[in-house]
Point group: C2
Chain length 208, copies 2
């Protein structure tokens, strides 16, 4: 479909629009296999592939900013001169796939043996719990960076581990739990982290 502005001017989606702001540079893993990309880069690329292939519409939410001071120079764009990072009240990614509401957070760990739960914020647990009650599909994408292994962890498994921690249990999820109770994704070329097939399995097996 050709889309035009009301004045008749042809609309061209700019690559600028697709870009996601990355205010805080993450430490990059320079191993060959992921060519120095962060998990965020990999997921953004995957989502872009899904979007242009009309397979799913999933976007990363912008980083929430509290703006304090804005200046309006003559003949140029407004400049934000003072602002602060705020804590997001939700997860980073959401969207729609095949009628399903999708909601997830992407997390990396340097550990080779377990995923520390300190990587997850309590408000994210609360949010994913709310999503699940509305029959959305909530999960984590976890990358064990040093192992170059990727897992889709259904929210139900995360919540079990979280509740266990709250009752005085361990503060991490062992790699073995990932191997037994989550879905591993082998990274590919395009899409890089092809997570939609894993979601089908989650739905079919009623993991949620």
């Amino acid at each position: 479909m050709t889309i035009r502005y009301p004045n008749g001017k042809l609309y061209k989606p700019s690559s600028e629009i697709q870009k996601v702001s990355k205010p805080i540079k993450k430490v990059k893993d320079l191993s060959y296999s992921n060519r120095g990309k962060t998990l965020e880069d990999e997921i953004n690329e995957t989502n872009h592939f899904y979007l242009i292939s009309q397979m799913a519409v999933i976007h990363k939410k912008p980083v929430p900013i509290q703006i304090v001071k804005v200046e309006y120079p003559k003949r140029s764009a407004a400049v934000i001169k003072e602002a602060y990072f705020r804590t997001a009240s939700t997860t980073d990614y959401n969207g729609v796939w095949n009628g399903y509401y999708i909601d997830f957070e992407a997390k990396e760990t340097e550990s080779k043996t377990s995923f520390p739960l300190k990587n997850v914020h309590p408000h994210q647990i609360k949010h994913m719990e709310d999503v699940q009650k509305q029959r959305g599909i909530a999960f984590l994408i976890v990358r064990f960076s040093r192992l170059d292994r990727y897992f889709i962890l259904p929210f139900s498994i995360l919540l079990q581990a979280w509740d266990n921690m709250e009752s005085g249990g361990i503060k991490s999820i062992p790699l073995k739990v990932f191997e037994s109770s989550s879905l591993e994704i082998k990274p590919g070329y395009n899409p890089r982290i092809d997570y939609l097939p894993a979601l089908e399995k989650i739905i079919t097996n009623k993991y949620l």
Copy 2:
């Protein structure tokens, strides 16, 4: 459910987290009926009511910002010293309700007779079209500020008007079309703009 940080500290959702940044103050309508609130305020309140009532999980996305310069003062939070507003690639609101993916944009007009299509951006049309293809529910919430009337305009009706404009037709949607082809919402106290019942009608009547 009680939620705790991994260190055992009790998590209390702060009201700060619920707040949505409003970098650009909209002109406020000071009539009695909406007590000076912008449509954005009204919808945020409504979504907050839906969230705490466990009726739906719908959030406004943060405004996308391109960050250029950040300073890290000693013993205090990082300060953004130069940043610019960017164009969003999607609509402002999305979430999940009763298994459905919900996606919408809120628009106000001062006109008493029609809604000018220049209020809608081509990339928003494209985004809502993508959402519809994935069986999400896309729509506009339109407020005719001077009439104090609110409408839920299904994306299908918006797209008809857009296509008509592209073919040389009128560049606005007359109020009469809203009266005949959209769902009017009478503003209330809490929730202020109770749009979920309208969505049930849209789904039942296959407006989409």
